[in-house]
Symmetry: C2
Subunit: 143 residues, 2 copies
């Protein structure tokens, strides 16, 4: 029951909160030992802060919960492929696993020849259609 | 008098504060219209947070000062070449200019085929020796 889709659905719920706040709808949760230790959604507009991506907030919150800056036994579920900034932060965090919903061919890090920490496992395509549809719907509603 | 070296010296003072706190000594200031609107130093150890690089804090603080998330009329002076995470954040910020002290061949973004915003001007090598010496001295003291 507590599989990748289960946690990605929770990340999608976070993305939907962002959507309702007129933020680019990206959400994420961080899981350690089967427990959610952080959840967040994009808040760049609300906070007037380009660094307030869902992943950045979740990394800070998870480290705060753990009481240490490395996320070595953690998995992040994020609805959209992280950007260069967030990939850099994930790399510093030494996180164990990153599970990605939809790809972001333009802004995502996977096409940019960047790598995360050597110990970090990456999975893509979990609930990709739902995650992608939410972002597309957001940008269509803004036109 | 208020030239690049003047502001880099102030960034170096920030880096020295980091050094005294046993943080990797990187400092930065953000200048708009000749005024310093943000200054910061690396706080990753103190805050237990890999995202607490000097540049990240300065971007957030400068945007807060301006009341908008884009730093289009701002120059950042930073003692060490930004990493991938900070380069990604600077890119989102659309900052006008980044002035770099010492290069960071291993962790810096310049060797990684990443670009900042097309409108962002980049200058390197301002007080490079002083900036580099401080970082080297820090790592030598930790061995």
């Amino acid at each position: 029951m507590f599989n990748d889709e289960y946690f990605m659905k929770l990340a999608l719920q976070e993305a939907q909160i962002a959507f309702a706040r007129e933020e680019v709808p990206v959400g994420c949760v961080v899981v350690a030992n089967g427990r959610i230790i952080a959840k967040s959604h994009n808040l760049t507009q609300t906070l007037n802060d380009v660094t307030a991506h869902a992943e950045m907030q979740a990394i800070t919150a998870a480290a705060d919960f753990i009481g240490g800056k490395y996320l070595q036994n953690c998995t992040m579920y994020v609805t959209l492929e992280p950007c260069v900034m967030c990939a850099g932060a994930l790399s510093w965090s030494q996180i164990s696993k990153v599970v990605i919903g939809a790809r972001d061919e333009q802004r995502g890090f996977l096409n940019k020849n960047l790598t995360l920490h050597p110990k970090t496992e990456i999975t893509t395509g979990v609930l990709a259609e739902e995650c992608s549809a939410l972002v597309k719907s957001f940008f269509q509603s803004r036109r």
